[in-house]
């Protein structure tokens, strides 16, 4: 049986798709057979981040509506044999997804895979609720700003009531917090919420902290998940996150202000 992990946030633009791609890649690199599903029907992005947009033939909606088989729609990642992508449809909308259809797809995938990562659309409507409904675990992506924290709080409320686990009174969905775009400099100057404040409000376990990094945009635009860029702080932070997801203990990194060395202050050495 596969573990079903939903990557969700409520608010848009906080890094759900980037995180879903990076975490799925990290899980696959550690030897787990992983599939990442784009639930953002109508605003397909995951294929771009994963660099497989030119290989999309069939999509999730085709599979649900019986127009294509799962194996026809899944795309094998170029860089990792363990990783598959199930893209969303760009020409349809979220109403094309049905609860039964999603259940059947996830059940079928569960037979073959260790991890199923669901990349949720933004919002709290049908698309987001379908993405989270069958989840065993949830990674709630939050930026260090008040609106993102409040939306994450809302999503946590839905995870506790609008999922199969909640409705069937099973063990609740395991909720984990992933803070992205964290900039210790701006936290220090008071522009951004700090780690402790976010954790105090959301009151769930922190699974990772991804620093604001140029590497993320570079990775998105080149279609290579940032986990592959192990020279970058963000790439390392995602690897730490995946390690914690798999049960390893990893100390938190990149959350403290780095004192710039004398030379870098003179030469303006930026972070990678």
């Amino acid at each position: 049986m596969a573990r079903i992990i939903v990557v969700t946030s409520g608010k848009g633009g906080v890094g759900k798709t980037t995180s879903a791609a990076a975490i799925a890649t990290g899980l696959a690199l550690r030897g787990n057979k992983t599939v990442v599903i784009d639930f953002d029907v109508g605003l397909r992005n995951l294929d771009l981040i994963m660099g497989c947009e030119r290989r999309v033939v069939y999509d999730l909606v085709n599979v649900i509506q019986g127009e294509a088989g799962l194996n026809q729609a899944m795309i094998r990642d170029k860089r990792s044999d363990n990783l598959y992508i199930l893209p969303a449809s760009q020409t349809r909308d979220k109403d094309a997804l049905t609860l039964e259809g999603v259940e059947q797809v996830l059940e079928k995938l569960s037979e073959d895979f260790d991890y199923i990562v669901c990349d949720s659309p933004a919002g709290i409507e049908r698309g987001a609720q379908l993405a989270m409904y069958f989840a065993d675990e949830a990674i709630v992506v939050t930026n260090p700003e008040v609106s993102s924290v409040r939306d994450s709080d809302r999503i946590l409320g839905l995870l506790a009531s609008k999922t199969r686990r909640a409705e069937q009174a099973q063990d609740p969905v395991i909720e984990r917090l992933l803070i992205t775009r964290y900039d210790p400099n701006r936290v220090d100057s008071g522009d951004m919420l700090n780690l402790e404040d976010i954790q105090e409000i959301l009151a769930i376990k922190l699974i990772g902290l991804i620093p604001e990094s140029e590497a993320v945009l570079r990775a998105s635009n080149s279609g290579v998940p940032v986990t592959h860029d192990q020279d970058s702080d963000a790439g390392q932070a995602y690897s730490d996150t995946v390690a914690r997801l798999l049960g390893d203990e990893k100390p938190l990194r990149f959350h403290q202000l780095q004192k710039k060395s004398f030379l870098s202050r003179i030469f303006g050495g930026g972070r990678r």
């Binding site: 609860l99 409507e125 409040r150 709080d153 809302r154 946590l156 409320g157 009531s161 009151a203």
Partner: protein, 241 residues
Amino acid sequence: MSLKVDQTATAFTFKGGMLPMTVMELASSDPERISAQLAGKLSQSPAFFQHTPVVLSVEKLDDTSLALERLCAVCRSHKLLPVAVRGGSEGIKQSAWALGLGWFPPQESRESRTLASVTPPPSPSSVAQDVGHGGRIFRGTVRSGQQISAAEGDLVVVGAVNAGAEVLAAGSIHVYGPLRGRALAGIHGDRDCGIFCHELHAELLSVAGNYKRLEDIDPSLLDTTVQVRLRDDQLSIEALV
């Protein structure tokens, strides 16, 4: 105005009534389909759709995907006025209440309730006695968008009430944690109850309809442990030591 005057001249009396009501028995939870069908009916008999009150019956639905708020909007846009919901899960009941709608139990179990509602409403003195019974304890974080209520008695929250969340009680509200959302005590008019919290940062505080917004709260009281109660029709917030 003194209290004595209020007690002698009653502003209203409760009476039982049986009014005819249209029940909208839903066979689908898809707002688009409902909207389309309503549009068809509207053209057939426009006279019917004049802000007619309706009860939405969801008994025949698997309501996991039911978007009550959207459904109400669809009804209103066709000049139907949803006033209550019948049947459905605990979640439906809560969201009906959150939308300001009434909730009726499903038809099978309704008989006993109808009898109960025919019995005369309790006199004010027995209402006062009932307060303190019932009540509710909630353990955990009340999150943005969630509404936790105690229709009778006090509500105790062991945890935080986050911004965008709402806690309501017929009696007092006790929050053993930060209160960042809205807290409404004495929702049925009990003026002797209060709000108690460990860390005050509430968006709104209300006791028996008298309220204060976050903006009205003395900043020196923020993030402290306080009690809120009514004094001379004014909401007073005092530090609890």
